[in-house]
Symmetry: C2
Subunit: 235 residues, 2 copies
DNA sequence: TAGCCACCTGTCCATATGGCTAGGTAGCGA
DNA sequence: TCGCTACCTAGCCATATGGACAGGTGGCTA
């Protein structure tokens, strides 16, 4: 099995970058990951095996943004899960795309979450690899590929995206703040009544939010809701 | 118990090593982690910054055992979560302790799960660090410390252990196979009736297992049960 | 302004769940 | 053999939950 897929993007263009830098120039990469070990590992692989240059490392969203701003790298290799809020990582993608269109984004995630994969790509990430799946040479190839304007999807990610795009709305359906809040309390084992009391709602409203969340997550029992939300990295 | 705990930010001194090996010999380490990036990172940190030798890398439980057998390292640095079954990682600890008592075990976990921390230490691991928390220099120091017979607990792990040992039974209470099986189906959103049908039990029995699991996990609603089980890395 | 959305509340009812008591089997080690 | 554990089953009953219908608000945008 061709361990990872590359999808040539017909519509997205690289004609702009054609003459932008000399073909022999080293690919310049900024790595954003909260984990030292991972950063060191990536740097080692990229620099020693792939002949690239890691020009900066970042451990927070702000630092990542600053680093891209300062170094204008070809590729930002990022673990969306910096800090405690993955949503910020997604916002960061949008911002990078908007402010630094020449920097490609390759997401290097800890785990495979359908919701996050889809969202990341929707917001402009050029690729999505999973840490535990990726092999050493794939990392360098992946970085090169996104730099060249391709979309790189790791093992298992491709089919996920296909499913996501296939469904009418995919993961475009976000859980609202309230829904998420309720789910978090459900995960703690509170009953509807307790949740209602906790966040000053009527029990009816709690059930209402839960019903809506059920439909969005396509889960019909609260245990499943919690499980899916957890798997999607929302808790 | 006569082990002295060492929290990672306190400073170290090794007054314990009794000249078992020449003081200048390089510490020999086997690294077991399914993730290439992490392996490369650890190797780089340990070899370049801490002057140690990574004599082998492993990506499976079997390979880890073989590597320890073959190389007789001073320290086995392992992510319990190789394969899909963390329990096997715990068993591996026991086996290493039994068969290769000269090899110390330092667990390098992805996440902080109380149940796993306690179990790992109970089965003979000499330390437990969390990947995202650990700093580059702490990794080398930690390896050195366990080699010297100390117990190394990363940030946040210490208090967890204290709590675990404080409670009468701690996490000594395992979920039985049946309980786990039922919980997995609960997580998929099945009702007791459906679960009963799925694994050929009566609904009563399903409820029985769930009741027992509730008590062990100290959770009173199925949503909480799956949340805890997930957090404990059991699903 | 109409339409959409997130948000909030209520009522109804069948079913699921949590918590309990009270049995049974088989295997394993002291 | 006794005691322990994992395992299996049954029944009872109060409460929680899932799913439905039927309304309401305020804010935003076409």
């Amino acid at each position: 099995m061709g361990v990872f897929f590359r999808i040539m993007n017909a519509d997205v263009r690289s004609d702009v970058s054609l003459g932008r830098r000399s073909p022999n120039a080293k690919t310049r990469v900024v790595v954003a990951d909260r984990n030292v070990i991972t950063r060191v590992g990536i740097r080692s692989i990229l620099e020693r095996n792939a002949g690239m240059a890691v020009v900066a490392e970042a451990t927070t969203y702000e630092a990542a943004l600053d680093a891209v701003d300062e170094h204008g790298p070809d590729v930002l290799l990022i673990d969306l899960d910096l800090g405690d809020d993955t949503t910020r990582g997604l916002k960061l993608c949008e911002e990078i795309v908007e402010r630094f269109p020449n920097t490609k984004i390759l997401v290097l995630a800890q785990s495979l979450s359908e919701m996050i994969v889809i969202e990341a790509l929707r917001r402009g990430a050029n690729g999505y690899l999973v840490k535990d799946e990726v092999k050493a040479d794939e990392l360098g190839k992946g970085v090169k590929a996104v730099q060249d304007g391709e979309t790189v999807l790791g093992k298992g990610v491709g089919s996920m995206v296909a499913r996501g795009l296939g469904s009418t709305r995919g993961a475009a359906e976000h859980l609202t703040d309230r829904e998420l809040a309720v789910i978090k309390l459900v995960a703690k084992g509170l009953s509807n009544k307790q949740i209602a009391h906790e966040i000053f709602l009527s029990e009816s409203t709690v059930k209402f939010h839960l019903q809506n969340a059920s439909k969005k997550l396509n889960a019909h029992r609260r245990a499943e809701i919690v499980h899916r939300a957890t798997a999607a990295g929302l808790l």
